[in-house]
């Protein structure tokens, strides 16, 4: 039972390894860069799948949570604290091991806050923001909720775009690497391409396992029951308002963590990460993935983000994601990658097999 449940995870791990092997053997390791970025975007999409697909609460503001992660770590780790050495706060931070000393690309010695500190700060900040805006807006339903989250997304986008501290339209660059443990570091350095690919893959695998467990648990059933009927869920003792809020915070934290890691991987972050069109593309991917389907979201998330990042959609990128969303909403409002949408395929296969059997057999049963 447990084996069967986790066999897709095993398949995923094997795919991850095969992709890397092919890219390395073919001498095309640069493909891994976009795969790594797609993997981080997939973390956002996985979180959003639980919020939207399973709990039935739409969000058009998840790019904002991603940007909050990215910008928090960017601001906190790009500040050179060398000239502030001697102040009590900086000295204390150094003594507590909350800082990193290194030479930047130009050989200048810098002292900055450890990305671990900014990661924790970003997660706490994002969770707090999601919690406090979630309380009023999650009382809304359907398109009202969509509009409220859209409004939130636009606000964050304008703040990022208009603030000196966030680098306005240029964003923030020269973001240092994020040294994890054991010599691993999240960094855009081409020499670290393979290990970064695996760091991202580990995060995605961990994310999907955690969410798989969640969906198939007491909490997950409560979330899915909210999707089915809020009134009945409430009558069964599910604290609907609380569960909606917690899953909103959870999905925001997934987006935030993705933002922190991708920002260190890219070495920079720009306002386009907070753009509402980003939120639309996340939503479109959850929809093509089958709404309440973590694996569908994952496959589509990797595929579409990869194609987009490799530039296959060219300047039609936004057009592509917008159209995907429109087509899905018109023809497959419950999501595309769903068994029921492929029933015609299995029916057709069954028909072929039956007619084949009938012909090969006694021939008494021609067509049914």
């Amino acid at each position: 039972m447990a084996m069967k449940k986790y066999s897709p995870v095993l398949a995923l791990v094997i795919c991850v390894i095969i992709l890397q092997a092919i890219a390395s053997l073919a001498g095309r390791e640069y493909y891994l860069t976009q795969l790594t970025m797609s993997a981080y975007y997939c973390l956002v999409i996985l979180g959003l799948t639980v919020l939207m697909g399973y709990t039935g609460q739409i969000s058009l503001g998840h790019a904002a949570f991603f940007a909050m992660g990215g910008y928090t770590t960017a601001v906190m780790t790009t500040r050179n604290l060398i000239e502030m050495q001697g102040s009590a706060a900086v000295d204390l931070a150094v003594r507590l091991g909350l800082t990193v000393t290194e030479k930047n690309a130009y050989g200048v010695e810098i002292l900055h806050l450890s990305p671990w500190v900014s990661l924790v700060t970003a997660v706490c900040l994002t969770a707090a923001v999601a919690f406090f805006i979630g309380i009023p807006i999650l009382k809304l339903k359907g398109h009202y909720l969509a509009m409220a989250t859209l409004g939130f997304g636009i606000i964050i986008y304008r703040i990022v775009l208009g603030s000196r501290i966030f680098g306005e339209a240029d964003g923030i660059s020269d973001i240092p690497q994020f040294a994890l443990a054991g010599g691993l570091a999240v960094s855009g350095d081409p020499a670290l391409r393979v290990q970064n690919y695996y760091i991202a893959a580990v995060l995605v695998v961990a994310g999907v396992v955690l969410l798989m467990n969640l969906v198939d648990s007491r909490v997950g059933r409560a979330l899915r029951s909210i999707h089915g009927s809020e009134e009945a869920a409430n009558a069964m003792g599910v604290n609907v308002a609380r569960y909606k809020l917690l899953v909103f915070v959870l999905s925001a934290v997934f987006a935030c963590i993705a933002g922190v890691f991708l920002t260190h991987f890219n070495g920079g972050v720009g306002p386009s990460e907070a753009d509402v069109m980003k939120s639309v593309s996340y939503l479109a991917i959850v929809a093509v993935g089958g709404m309440a389907n973590l694996w569908g979201a994952l496959v589509m998330g990797i595929l579409l983000n990869y194609l987009s990042l490799r530039g296959y959609f060219g300047s039609y990128d936004e057009f592509v994601f917008g159209s995907i969303l429109i087509v899905i909403m018109l023809f497959f409002p419950n999501g595309l990658l769903k068994m029921e949408n492929f029933r015609w395929l299995s029916d057709a296969a069954a028909r072929v097999i039956n007619s084949y059997r009938a012909r090969g057999g006694e021939g008494k049963d021609g067509l049914s």
């Binding site: 955690l210 969410l211 467990n213 969640l214 648990s217 007491r218 909490v219 997950g220 059933r221 409560a222 899915r224 029951s225 999707h227 089915g228 009927s229 009134e231 009945a232 869920a233 409430n234 009558a235 069964m236 003792g237 599910v238 604290n239 609907v240 917690l246 959870l250 309440a292």
Partner: protein
């Protein structure tokens, strides 16, 4: 004295007094029926008891503890469970998963234990599944456990909904028209089921239009008309009550 006590419950929608100063009691282990013409306020009364609607005035007590205007999920924890007139099963969930939601208040794993599948959460999960399957087999639908709940026939969905409500181990079960849309065989089965539920120690308050069902199973009947209680008593008395006959058959028919 009563297990559930309603005192002067009222609720208006705009100018319409949907429930108007209704008081009655339900004794423990009783099957009590609420009847009345369409629009009499029966379902509104249920929604007031379960907290789906807030009442304008009045009091509801369970075991002498006031429950009026508590949120529905808190009232569920006080041992009140219900079914809905227009069946509200959870879509995209199997029959057993629907029933397992009923075990929500009898279990406690939160987000983190669930995501990490901690041993405690796993043990609890097994217990939830076992108990839910048990309830399904008591209701005689164990073989449907893995079917998609909302694609079942109407009558079966009703039974699943009752199973889900029972999974909360309620002291008081509110059934909103459990026989609506059922044929006579299914109705007989529901009637048998309600009696069995009472035998298991559950108090039942039921809204129903099927008079033969009501007269058969209920200990007492409350009659509502235009939001007001017009009669209360044992079935035999209600059948003879002139006011009730007038409301049901119309004034000039007598």
């Amino acid at each position: 004295m009563g297990f559930l006590e309603l005192k002067n419950m009222s609720r208006s929608f705009g100018g319409l007094r949907a429930v108007d100063d209704v008081s009655f009691e339900v004794a423990k282990h009783q099957i009590k029926a609420v009847i009345g013409p369409n629009g009499a306020g029966k379902t509104t009364l249920f929604n007031l008891i379960t907290g789906s609607l807030v009442c304008d005035s009045g009091e509801a007590r369970i075991n002498d503890v006031p429950i009026q205007n508590l949120p529905p999920h808190r009232i569920a924890r006080r041992g009140i469970s219900r079914t809905f007139q227009n069946i509200k099963l959870f879509s995209h969930m199997t029959v057993v998963e629907n029933v397992m939601v009923g075990r929500h208040i009898r279990s406690r794993a939160g987000f983190l234990p669930a995501m990490l599948r901690l041993p405690g959460a796993r043990r609890e999960e097994r217990a939830i599944r076992e108990r839910s399957l048990e309830i399904l087999s008591v209701m005689g639908i164990a073989e449907l456990a893995d079917q998609d709940a909302t694609s079942l026939p109407f009558g079966t969905q009703r039974i699943v909904e009752i199973a889900r409500a029972l999974a909360t181990e309620p002291e008081l079960l509110l059934l909103d028209e459990p026989a609506a849309g059922l044929n006579i065989y299914e109705t007989a089965r529901v009637s048998e089921m309600i009696t069995k539920i009472r035998e298991r120690g559950v108090t039942v308050l039921v809204i129903e239009h099927d008079m033969s069902l009501i007269m058969n199973i209920s200990d007492e009947i409350v009659v509502l008309s235009s939001g007001k209680k017009i009669a209360e008593g044992v079935p035999a008395d209600i059948q003879k009550n002139e006011e009730v006959i007038r409301v049901y058959l119309g004034e000039d028919d007598a």
